[in-house]
Point group: C2
Chain length 456, copies 2
């Protein structure tokens, strides 16, 4: 069906021309002389106003119903009101009717109600804006790395290993639910892969493999966590951006992470002006100012040890006590970002006991070259570290944690054959979409969100 995208029509290039457009009626006004249809085809946030002169054209009343799909021909003219354009219809054809039971009506509905109709909620203003921002942000991430010579790699999702400590894993199997075996070994020997397999919680270990050949790589794909918790910030399935960079030490990777965050936010502010104004008006007052402030400020860097001192001196009753060695809780992170720094901050050099085996051990013997990027209102959005490049120190850290060293032979090989300093980070993609849109529940930035008990 030859037709023009509404986003192109609204740019004004077709002024004075005859066009065909297709779309869904989002709202309409109908009088005896003239009818107005607000038409969306989803290619942009705005709608095209279609004007039907009923003296010239018989309009099927089905075409004025909210949700109906139509094909419209006519001339693009200057809008009667405002600076834009509208379409004077010469033909309006019904493509698909929409009965009055249609659950998306003009009245305001809650995000919670819309969560119950994930297949229809995308047709509302809010989700139209959310998922366009998500798409533009994803494009920006790919562009950012591509422009800087990173190789995009797809690390495996089904894996026999785990990225130690990152979270609970789902098991992947083709065994029937009631398979009966005398031993675990026999069960998995007969399973699809001949051994136990699960869904990856991170592509980091395989990403390191690729970085040791291409220097600069990134993954951008799904990761999985089988965590039995229902929060507004966690999902069982999420999209994960994981760059890994050879010849990069902690300060280098911090610079890259900061540059990437600013690049993505800038792209969304530039490419989604209507969507961002909508969010600023209806989701989070001051959102655009907040984001411009992030783009224009230098992110903070705070040593974990200093952060602990600040928290100990804070005139706040924290629920979790603060002592050197403790992990930072949400309330602590919130105090650091929202009260102390008032901007994103990298907390660096955490105690080695609360961090992973693969992180580079600092010379002090107590801390590792790891950092979390904390942002106001969201908390951690990036986990980052320099990786231990010394095979002896790596082995020692694994032994301390009683890990199965044989299972990590490939990973250790990377340190045996031409080891180099390298660093990487992981960004939870949905987290930054939430941050940029003011949406508070991760379920509302995910097409079909998965969490414990929820797979509708």
């Amino acid at each position: 069906m030859k037709h023009i995208d509404i986003v192109d029509v609204l740019k004004g290039d077709y002024l004075g021309k005859e066009v065909t457009v297709c779309g869904w009626v989002r709202t309409s006004r109908d009088s005896s002389a003239v009818a107005f249809l607000e038409l969306s085809d989803g290619t942009c946030f705005s709608r095209l106003q279609v004007v039907v002169d009923k003296a010239k054209l018989t309009l099927d009343p089905e075409c004025t119903r909210n949700g109906a799909s139509v094909l419209v021909k006519g001339e693009i003219v200057k809008a009667y009101r405002g600076d834009g354009v509208e379409l004077n219809a010469t033909a309006v054809c019904l493509l698909g009717a929409c009965p009055p039971e249609y659950p998306i009506q003009k009245k305001r509905t809650t995000l919670e109600f819309l969560r119950g109709i994930p297949h229809l909620r995308l047709r509302t203003n809010t989700f139209n804006a959310v998922f366009r921002v998500r798409s533009i942000a994803a494009q920006a991430i790919h562009r950012f790395f591509h422009e800087r010579h990173y190789v995009y790699v797809n690390t495996p999702l089904i894996t026999a290993s785990d990225c130690e400590g990152a979270g609970e894993m789902f098991r992947v199997t083709t065994q029937p639910y009631n398979a009966k075996y005398e031993s675990e070994e026999a069960y998995y020997k007969d399973d699809f892969f001949g051994q136990k397999a699960g869904l990856s919680v991170s592509g980091q270990l395989e990403g390191e493999v690729a970085a040791m050949a291409f220097s600069k790589i990134y993954t951008f794909g799904p990761s999985f966590r089988a965590e039995n918790s229902n929060t507004t910030k966690h999902l069982s399935e999420f999209w994960h951006v994981e760059p890994e960079v050879a010849f990069a030490e902690l300060p280098d990777i911090i610079e890259i992470a900061e540059e990437m965050i600013k690049y993505v936010i800038s792209a969304v502010l530039t490419e989604c002006p209507d969507e961002m104004t909508f969010f600023d008006n209806f989701m989070e007052k001051g959102l655009k100012d907040k984001l411009y402030n992030v783009v224009n400020s230098k992110f903070g860097v705070l040593d974990y040890t200093d952060a602990i001192e600040i928290l100990k001196k804070a005139d706040v009753n924290f629920n979790y006590p603060v002592e050197w060695g403790c992990d930072l809780q949400t309330e602590h992170e919130k105090y650091l970002t929202d009260v102390v720094m008032k901007k994103p901050v990298f907390v660096i050099n955490y105690p080695k006991e609360i961090k992973s085996f693969y992180m580079k051990q600092n010379a002090d013997g107590k801390t590792v070259a790891a950092t979390d990027l904390l942002v106001p209102g969201i908390g951690e959005i990036i986990g980052c570290s320099e990786r231990e490049a010394d095979p002896e120190k790596l082995l020692q850290a694994m032994k301390t944690r009683n890990m199965d060293i044989g299972a990590y032979k490939q990973y250790i090989d990377l340190r045996t054959f031409g080891s180099v300093p390298h660093s990487g980070f992981g960004l939870g993609f949905e987290r930054i979409v939430m941050y940029m849109t003011g949406i508070e529940n991760i379920r509302d930035v995910t097409l079909f969100p998965r969490s414990v008990g929820n797979i509708s």
Copy 2:
């Protein structure tokens, strides 16, 4: 570590300047007076020649070993031989030694041998080229759709439904291997999602949901097939490009698919000239000519019914007999592409019995508006169809197949509320990478390939 990417150095911009580069020694020649190190940092296919004047610089012999990682400072000068540049070293520092047990040595090895060391094979010329082409192709796909106002969506990987007939599914569970339940229902009630869950074989059904709001969407993510077969063209985990377009009928989506294929091939030919010359020389003689021919020719379109007539008249003894109604086997597809058409061809309008329930039923009552794009040497790389937009016809097709209609309520809703003609296709991403590189085994275009019994 401040340094310059070798891809930038080789462009010549740094001629006459002092630089620092990092990388791995891929080969070296050492004499009493001078040593030459061929350095790769993986940012491009070519290597940088480092010249060490031993009268001026003491060179650690470890730095000349194949696989060692080094940091080199010096001046970029015109190459002694050829048009390029080389680096006159003023300092060479060993970052990581590489012992002689390193399995990647200068001698030629087979792809099969390298499959046994997936964590090291990326350091060879072949895999350096393959995965850069794969990355550039992925970037081109994102760019193609982004430039045309498509919204990139991430459909769920863990799913409770299946895309009927697309293949066997993996099951996702957190139940222990020896969980004992009286009934299947009780087992899944206690499982993570409270019902049976599996890994998605296609994002199409959810992609259609998004297309009914945004008109033009695409997915680009992993899909899974638990097929108990070991071929050179199938994997249990692969990356899948699935656009879905509203207001598009079969001829429209064929046009989009052809345009996309040509766009991706053009991007790779333009952006990876060294890699493509390498493949043309060492993987498939005439590869570049083949690809230029694809870019410059109009793809064929062949009605299934005509294809059957051609095959019946062919002077070939096929292993599988040909009759109207049969599915095309690899030998038939190969005859059509390699002997008859000698270029990619869309076979259209298949018998409805051998295709899926969701495909638009043609007026003849016998066929559906479906097409496969067949390419010489590979076979099917795209499966495509217009979707049935009429709820009554869709329901009838589901009933004929004894499907559980209740499980598809959301999918049917899309036809109830503002249904529109729409079409989509699925591209197996690894297939097109194979086609563009001349690589014959899908395991060699995949970082860590997964298939039955294989998860190393």
